[in-house]
């Protein structure tokens, strides 16, 4: 069959749209705040009043927030769409729905992220979020959930914690954050991003002491990069002061330490870099530290007694090297 002809005949079968959501903007915590109505409801009918529309009638089982009738309808453009996940619901199915009132009608909030399976865990969590009287109470609730067995709850807890206006956690809760972060780094999860943000926001000496070994020993480079970015947003003087206590003897951890130090403000990191340079190290670590110290204004002559000539020579040669980037190519 002619390629173009065949494809053209299939045009009519196109299904509607999908969307990708910004997860922090659609956590259950945020949806609880923004929704006018939160209801556990069961689909009683599913129709297409026109070719372009899909309409569900639902029977409300349990109103968690706001007011809604015993039976109500939700209408969306027809077809499959992650932003409008009603398309996936069939008669008899029960969901927890986060709804917003626009004029006289209700609409789902947060796309598919606002249509949850009606499991006991999720229901309990939503009820607990709604019952939290203060931001602090919400923070404690979320911190208790960062290791939850239900991934959506654990992910959401980490994401929401990272965006709470005020963040004050107990030692036990901090410990939970650390253990969750360690697990997330080991498994290569995206949850690391939010947990690292939480850790950076707490950002005191204890938390830095907790993150530092996870960063230095992370198996995956991309996870280490996330942690490095978080550590860079902690108080830089504190990071620079704490780092030497955790540097081990392996080349990888020392390279990580050097990478972090060279990216911190020079004034804060100079002493730590010098400290690290004076320890026995692989030449590659020495070279990175020399690059950092040179960039911090230390003269090559003063570094000369501390490192082999070849190391300093390479560091000097690389000093004026144009940085490269992963995606953008400024010379093109």
């Amino acid at each position: 069959m002619n390629y173009r002809t065949q494809k053209a005949t299939l045009l009519a079968l196109l299904l509607p749209t999908l969307a990708v959501a910004q997860d922090q903007a659609s956590t259950m915590t945020r949806l609880c705040q923004k929704a006018d109505v939160i209801v556990r409801a069961t689909v009683t009918s599913s129709v297409h009043p026109t070719a372009l529309l899909h309409q569900l009638t639902l029977q409300s089982n349990h109103v968690l927030k706001g007011q809604v009738g015993a039976s109500f309808t939700l209408t969306e453009p027809a077809g499959k769409c992650c932003g409008r996940s009603l398309f996936a619901l069939s008669v008899g199915e029960t969901r927890i729905l986060f709804l917003k009132r626009l004029g006289p009608t209700l609409h789902t909030l947060g796309g598919g992220r606002g249509v949850l399976a009606s499991t006991p865990n999720l229901l309990t969590h939503v009820q607990a979020l709604l019952a939290a009287p203060t931001t602090n109470a919400t923070a404690h609730l979320l911190a208790a959930c960062v290791n939850h067995a239900e991934p959506r709850i654990a992910d959401d807890a980490a994401l929401a914690l990272a965006t709470l206006p005020n963040l004050s956690l107990t030692p036990l809760e901090r410990s939970a954050i650390t253990s969750s972060l360690l697990q997330s780094v080991q498994r290569g999860w995206t949850r690391t991003a939010a947990l690292a943000d939480v850790a950076a926001r707490l950002g005191d000496a204890n938390m830095i002491d907790s993150i530092m070994p996870i960063y230095l020993e992370a198996t995956r480079e991309d996870q280490a990069l996330l942690l490095r970015k978080a550590l860079k947003r902690c108080p830089t003087q504190l990071v620079a002061e704490r780092m030497p206590a955790f540097v081990g003897s392996t080349r990888r951890s020392n390279l990580r330490a050097a990478a972090l130090m060279t990216e911190l403000p020079a004034a804060a990191a100079r002493a730590a870099m010098t400290n690290l340079l004076q320890r026995p190290n692989h030449p590659q670590v020495q070279m990175h530290l020399c690059e950092g110290l040179l960039a911090a204004g230390v003269s090559a002559a003063s570094l000369s007694p501390m490192v082999p000539h070849a190391v300093l020579q390479l560091a000097v040669a690389r000093q004026n090297r144009r940085p490269t980037f992963r995606n953008v190519q400024p010379l093109r």
Partner: protein, 985 residues
Amino acid sequence: MLLIGAAACGSGGGGGNSGSGNTIGALSGAVNLITHSPAHNAVQVQLNAIICLEFDTDMALGAFGDQDTWLRQAGSSTDVPVTFTRGSNGRIDCQPDSALQAETDYVFQLSALTSDLSGRILDVTTSFAFRTFDETPPSITGFSIAEGATSVSRTGTFTLSFDEAIDSGSITDSTIYLCDVFGGRYACESTPIGQTILIDPFADLPGDRQFSIVATTALGDRAGNQLEEQYQSSFRTRNDAQQPSVNDTWPLLNATNMSPDLQPTFTFSESMDPATVEAVSLLFQDEYGSIIPFAIGATLDQRTLRIKPLVSLQVNRRYTLEFMLGAASASDVSGNCLIATQALTFTTGTDDVAPSVVASSPTTGESRVPGVLIAELTFDKDIDTLRVNETTAEFLVAGKPWATVIELVGTDTVRVTPILTLPVDTLCTLTLLGGQNGMRDLAGNVLATDETLSFTTSADSELPEAMILPPNDAVTIATSSHFSIVFDAPMDPATLTPSTILITDDFGNPISGTRTFSANNRVVTFEPTTNLAPHSYYRVQILSGNNGARRLTGNWFDSDRLSRFRTGQAIDATAPTVTATVNGIPSDRRDGLVLPPCGFTIDVTTSDSFSQWVDMGSIDIELTGGSGPTSESLLATAIIGYNTVQIQVSEDTPLSTGMWTMTVWATDLSGNRGQSSVIPFEVDSPSTGSMPFERTQLVWVRTDLDRDDNGTDDFTDDMVRLGFNTAGDPSGTNAYMQKLLLDGILAKANHIYHRGSRGEPLSSGAVQLRFLTREPTLLPHMQIGLGGLDPEGDRTRVYGSESTGVLGRAYYDYRNSNPTERNTATSPGLGVFPAEMWLYQTYLHKQAYPSFQTQFASRFLAICPDMGGSPAGTNPYDPAVLTASFDYDSATSAQRARWNAIMSAADEWTAVIGVILAHEVGHSVGLVAPGAMPNGLFGDSSLHDTYASAAEVMAASVSYNAMTSLDYQFRDIDLAYLRMRILLR
């Protein structure tokens, strides 16, 4: 079975390479340029030549009108008018509309979108250069020193300029040289650089002397035309009245036990005239006054002279070398006499044996050397540390010098440590120089000949890792425990011995017991003969280096790994808990599970009673139902952590079709065995189905849409919001920044589809999908909008407004049935909406700043105008900094800082938007079909990856921070679908 195994490549053409260096051939659905004329770098091409292209199929003539197909003069951006005609058997002729210019370099480029009659494209941009007929000899246009100049530096370099590049093969000591008025030639290094030749004399030139630079008629251009007449230009060097002095001597004054074979050296402050060092100027005698006859050797710069005795020195005798002053004294190249110098005295011993290498790591010829190498060569005697440096040891990687630290370890071992990690699978050569300029022992006996050690790095770029159980610092370990080591890759069993894995008490005494290997030599289990002593420390140490434990690929640990732990009082009799899933699907959703024969994952988690550890090397996966992989083979490829195991069933060991059950067992260190629940599932058989890509899917990423109707395209609106552009373009940098950002976004999206930054396929694993910044000529393609706010939200939102939380939307097209989707509509709102990300990130910033700086703020505070930054184009540095020609090397630190700030923000933003673009386009080519096989790809009800915890492109939701750092990839089964290695029926 509804999934079928399919060939990765479709029809393709098996043609050869183009001859211009591109090697990606025979990709699925790709056209191949078999050959072309003129060949790359051809010379003497006729002015009326036809450029002939031969493809492996008949081409669509209209495709040659693509804007990326052109003929240009080298360095020009103006196309030469040409006419294409189609011949038979895939031949295309390109005839310039008028004669080419003589003696001119041309470049011909063929667009990646060049297609055949059925829509298959070339998929790689191909170019080649040639030079037209040239019968004009080269001529010299200048010399860096004016004819007849005086007081010319004695130590500088000279540059000879030509009107065209000179053939480097014609540059020799006899075709270009430096001579004085007496006809004496002075050795130089002549290096062609562009249209010049740099001439660098090795030694200082004599002062106040007439010199000539001579270029003979044997010098020629690339076309073979030679200089018409010999060139000569003269100059006089400046006067030199500086007397030379001795800076250094060897051996040291009053040295003893020196070799009778030694050759003393003197190093001077400037180049010396070796001919002036002779018996009347240098007294060389023994303690009895016997004169030692000698000859002189000199380094190229003539600053170091070596005294070569012409008779053997006696053992145990004292010798003196003394420069004599007066009219006959030694002098520099200008004739200045040597300053008075202390006599050098030394005494010989009896050692006249040359040192030799007795051991090395790696050994020569070794082929599995890790990239993180520390090479060591051990001699049979002590080595002179003065001769252990970069002048006596040369390390070449693929024939090129590699920066290393060379040092003497102890007294007899030379250690060479490459500063940067070596590339994989590359031939490396370490040469220790022999002879008088090379390595020597303390007595001065030199290494007889060069000592060369050649080896090849392994194909494995990673270092081994090991999980030792019990782990380091563990306490209260049951006395009934055994030890377990789980490596991250198969190990070489010959390197897992009691001398490489030390299992001892806290005092280093070995523990008796039995070692067993399993899981393709990834797991070592040690069962002590008797129970461990209570309240005692034990150690497990894995030795590093080439004599330690090594991967099967050869790579060894860069440092020792150690676990020291303490036992408790009791034994452990409690079995561990074992939980297993398939594809992470929990038990309440796995009824009726249908799996493909391979590609799915088995996830295991374990837990044990307090302070006790599960032996993760003991995981036993029992699959019952037909032929399939063994537990050993599954574990051999597993990702194993403390209490977790993840395995992806490989296509090399598929399960047969039918009904299966899976049970997972795990044993703790005390031997207690736990069991998971039994998981039933079905494996379905393959059958023929359709492919998502019959031709390379082209995706035009449109940045020209104005869906908020504000008179400016949405992409530009984003640039201004973020601070990459400034309204009014005050510095003329907006276009550059837009191109930078758009190319960066596409580069990221291309990487995710396993293509290069410009969309070129990198291997046979590249997905047949190519992003474009413009509409392709005559080819069917998808379109997707990029820029602005979600059209389904309020389009008047500004900084501080609420985001819809929706970052993009696109048609879902099961099996990519329509390659011409238009994801550009306003209602429904389709495309990628970067401004929604901006809105939410700035919302977070407003909440947290200044008490906390978000990752977004750390990049955009400097440039985002609403956050108080200075957008690109408003800073005084921007006109110089924001161009493709910005010279970082010569820039000021302030310019560099500005450039780095903007480029870092751009790079991060492109990473984020590139992932979203890849995600949305993924939907439009069929991801993620919901449900299990045969019709689905384990997508969830919202058509995203189920339970996406890792950095998966098709996760239902994404976060800014994660996308800036994590390596987002398609889930294995999604990628297999995109690569057409599995098909949906």
